[in-house]
């Protein structure tokens, strides 16, 4: 492998790992507060991509519907992100309200909630299939593609944006969780669910907040994913979601840093295995590596057995 190929693959891996990281964040946040593995999260990511698709095509006037004023490119991007995040957060909160909260109220075992989460995921996938049909959708060129070449290394502005946004999201969430009162409440809930309401902390509001944060980050990931890989399909979230979940576990589920590191580790191993070996070895080797990490650190890289989560 030449040096330029190596650098090229580092950029590829950073971008690919960023998607795992962004989705893993949502798994980690919800787990950190509720100790619930929200298996529907991969499909919330898919919903985010579809919502982004409809909003951006609407704003770009692709439905033959002209807005009374011309929106500039930057404003369209901003509005698409903002509205998609809000709507997807709404979907996440609705799922929590309809599917998880009633079960929590009844105090059933966490296992049933996890099964419910799996069902919700399938519901979203097949609901999309039934509602919008099986045909693929082409995500519009929301962010105009610019190609940069440095020597033999080629990258687009989109790749750079993906990597930077992931970093920003990480810093933002880390600040929220560690520096704000809301974050303190989140951490407290995972620490002791019984005592926290006695201290006057509105548990349900905090949980809703967690879902808002996690789902809106899934929307960001969904739009960026759709911009990078512009063919949308109802099952796009399933496989990526599973892999992101695994990377959250490897990083130490419940920890924001863990989600980022786990996602990047998976991205790097996948890209570099595909570069060096035939691609059939990719999942074999990358999951072998993850298994090894988990054997050495069963709680994940940043995970500490059931203590300070989130």
């Amino acid at each position: 492998m030449t040096l330029s190929m190596f650098i090229q693959n580092i950029i590829n891996a950073l971008q690919w790992g960023s998607f795992y990281a962004l989705i893993a964040l949502g798994y980690s946040m919800v787990y950190g507060v509720l100790l619930l593995i929200n298996f529907a999260h991969g499909d919330i990511f898919m919903v985010g991509a579809y919502v982004g698709f409809f909003i951006s095509t609407f704003l770009l006037g692709a439905y033959g519907f002209q807005l009374p004023w011309q929106l500039s490119g930057g404003l369209v991007i901003f509005l698409t992100f903002l509205l998609s995040m809000a709507l997807t957060a709404g979907v996440g909160v609705t799922i929590e309200r309809v599917a998880y909260r009633p079960l929590r109220r009844k105090g059933v075992s966490r296992l049933y909630v996890v099964i419910t989460a799996l069902m919700v995921g399938l519901l979203l996938e097949n609901g999309n299939l039934a509602l919008l049909g099986a045909s693929r959708r082409n995500f519009p060129d929301l962010i105009p593609r610019v190609l940069y070449s440095v020597g033999e290394v080629n990258f687009t502005n989109i790749k750079i944006i993906v990597i930077i946004v992931t970093l920003l999201v990480f810093v933002f969430l880390q600040t929220v969780v560690l520096k704000t009162k809301w974050g303190m409440a989140m951490r407290a809930i995972s620490y002791d669910r019984m005592a926290v309401p006695l201290m006057g902390i509105p548990v349900d509001t905090i949980i809703v907040m967690t879902f808002v944060l996690g789902s809106s980050m899934a929307a960001v990931a969904g739009i960026l994913f759709a911009v990078s890989y512009p063919v949308l399909e109802p099952y796009m979230g399933a496989l990526v979601g599973w892999k992101a979940f695994i990377s959250a576990v490897v990083g130490g589920i419940g920890d924001i840093r863990g989600a980022i590191v786990g996602g990047l580790i998976l991205g790097f191993t996948e890209i570099f295995v595909a570069t060096i070996f035939p691609s059939t070895f990719r999942d074999l080797i990358s999951f072998g590596v993850l298994l090894l990490i988990l054997t050495l650190r069963p709680n994940g890289i940043f995970g500490i057995a059931r203590r300070t989560k989130v």
Binding site: M5, R136, E233, F272, T275, S279
Partner: protein, 390 residues
Amino acid sequence: MKRRILGTLMVLMLGICLCSNGWAADVIKIGFNIELTGDIPKVGEASKYAAEMLKDQINRAGGLKVGNKSYQLNFIYEDNEAKAESAAAAALKLITQNQVLGFIGPQASKQAIPAGEVADTNQTVMVTGWSTNPKTTLNRPWVFRACFLDPFQGPVLAKFATEVLKAKKAAVLYDIASDYPKGLAEFFKEAFEKIHGKGSVVAFETFTTKDRDFSAQLTKIVASKADILFTPQYYDEVPLIVKQAHEMGWKKPVLGSDSWGSAELMNLCGNDCKGLFFSTHYAAAGAKGATKQFIDNYKAKYKYEPDDVSALTWDATRLLLQAIQNTKGLTGDLKKDRKAIRDQMAKIREFDGITGKMSFDGKTGDPIKCAVIVKISQEGKFEFYKSVCP
């Protein structure tokens, strides 16, 4: 109370069974085992649309005349979800439960190969429109097809890459988990290396179905200094591959195969695919005679230009109907009729389809026919470039 409901239901079901048996007398049932959902739903849609058009046309004209009796056609569509195991299950359902005389599809080789196995063991004629992998019909006397084969398509593309695109070194990117891309990639490699010597395929890269990121493979391909990139993938993957190749700084041509030719390709690919070439079964632009009539009718009914899958489904269905007519009369005994249809299928030597003339040698279910190389124009249309005959 519960027992009464059950009783009523059973009576109702009995009634339905009797009714459907009553209709069966003057109806010919043909199955369609097609990709209505899954990775390539446009393929299933195109097949169904073409079949519906043919059915309406024949039924409106009084039905299909077999011997001295006219039959109404009843087409049954089963979704195989573009999965190998579902295709086998759909084939079995059509054969045993729906009791069809024969069935059309599946269209992609990944599904057609296992479904062909089911058709062959259950002694029912299967005609696939679009599956070009040789394994689909190999040693299966009950399986036929309406398209050319990959051992023919591979060399056609290798020759085209050499002569027109002036390629001396080629790169290939294909899905190793799917029969059609894997088979065709290997046939292309063999043919290309025959022309340019061993090692002229400088990158032979793989991925697995559902992959979305090809950056690692494309980095290798760009670094290999190949003159063309050949990628025999389906329309949902081609846009991603071509766009990512361009993002990696690939400026040379990308060459495709007949799986590219879906009406949906340009909706998904946009500007990135313009100016590229691929091989296919027919070109809609500049068609004449029956082909033009088919295109016009299809366009009028469904508002878009029919792709090669629609045209091949039309031909495959007509082949099967021709064989049914040639039996000179159905007995009503399913087993006997299926056997008679298979014998008549094997006797067809020449068939004038809308995708061109086909000739069969009677030994295999594979036609000998021409391939077409198509160029994607700046308007996003598939333009006829040249025709290559065996």
